[in-house]
Subunit: 111 residues, 4 copies
């Protein structure tokens, strides 16, 4: 996550990727939401039979597969945000403010 | 998405958010995968009865709700990646290379 | 699950329910698949922060909510099967035969 | 869906299937909810790039695959209901009563 513009660069790369395959016509928000949840489920699948403890100590091979599924979910989420002209970072920051009101922090001496 | 470090900053803010509520114990990868797909489904819900055309021209109020759901999905995805020590941007870049091999671009004159 | 024809009766009740609200036009397989996974996620939501043990000993109030979510998921699944002219029981039986080949039973002395 | 007891028979067959593989230990409601949504997503995947019209006219091969995914989703849903001692048919009937109050039928002359 080092470089400036990295998320913008990735968004632009995804635009080109879609254009070079003539996929734009399929990339309605409705379809992208479906594709995104399908990838999210492939991520869930890796954890369905694991204990909580096992899920925290994945074998290297499983970790690599999970990394790919996280990437695919992220790719569709970023692509969907782009099609809807939503900035992921701004949206997340704004939502965190709402979430903080909904779930107040514990007093420091109780943490 | 303008500033350097914005994704890293967001990741760190999510770490603090969890710590200030003593939520770390709940944030196993297994549980975060579940929470993430639940948010993904709340996003899907907004589109389930829409035509493809309607999904591309959301009323402002629905667009604002969709923005919040995209944000929540992204927040859990980023939090999950952090717990698993996965860099979202690097993972996405690596996966795009694989995806490009799996789905070759059309020749330029056919696009 | 006592009465003969109970699943067929339920399927027919769902047909009438849709007709009485003029919902048939929305009930494409694509849309029903989306509606079904949204209900499935509302079911998942009840379990996302629970330990495996807690998920096996739900408080009565949570159990009642889970029952409603299971019902909604089942309703959309049955409705989707109907629209696609698929018999749920027959489909499940056929799939169990395939699953048994894929995952052979343990020898009796190892169970 | 013809025979009396067909759903009960299926439930019992799923119990035996789990026992013969020593899978009961994995079949907590939490894990079954995850497995169920994963199958639901495999169903969604078949429809993600289709137009509404295409989703209503599936090629025979796709229809057969969709039938299998509907079956797997149903199998996990029925298994989950069994573990939670919930009767699928009763739960669906009760929920339809609630749904009818929430979404009243149109007057007969407007249908």
């Amino acid at each position: 996550m080092e470089s400036k513009q990295s998320l913008t660069d990735l968004r632009d790369a995804l635009r080109r990727f879609a254009a070079e395959r003539r996929w734009e016509v399929f990339h309605t928000p409705k379809n992208l939401a479906m594709a995104m949840i399908v990838e999210a489920a492939e991520l869930v699948e890796h954890f369905q039979w694991l204990t909580p403890e096992q899920s925290m100590a994945l074998p290297a091979e499983v970790h690599a597969e999970v990394r790919d599924e996280i990437a695919d979910t992220f790719i569709y989420l970023l692509r969907m945000a782009d099609v809807l002209e939503i900035d992921l970072i701004d949206a997340a920051r704004d939502k965190m403010v709402k979430n903080a009101l909904k779930y107040p922090a514990l007093p420091a001496d109780l943490r």
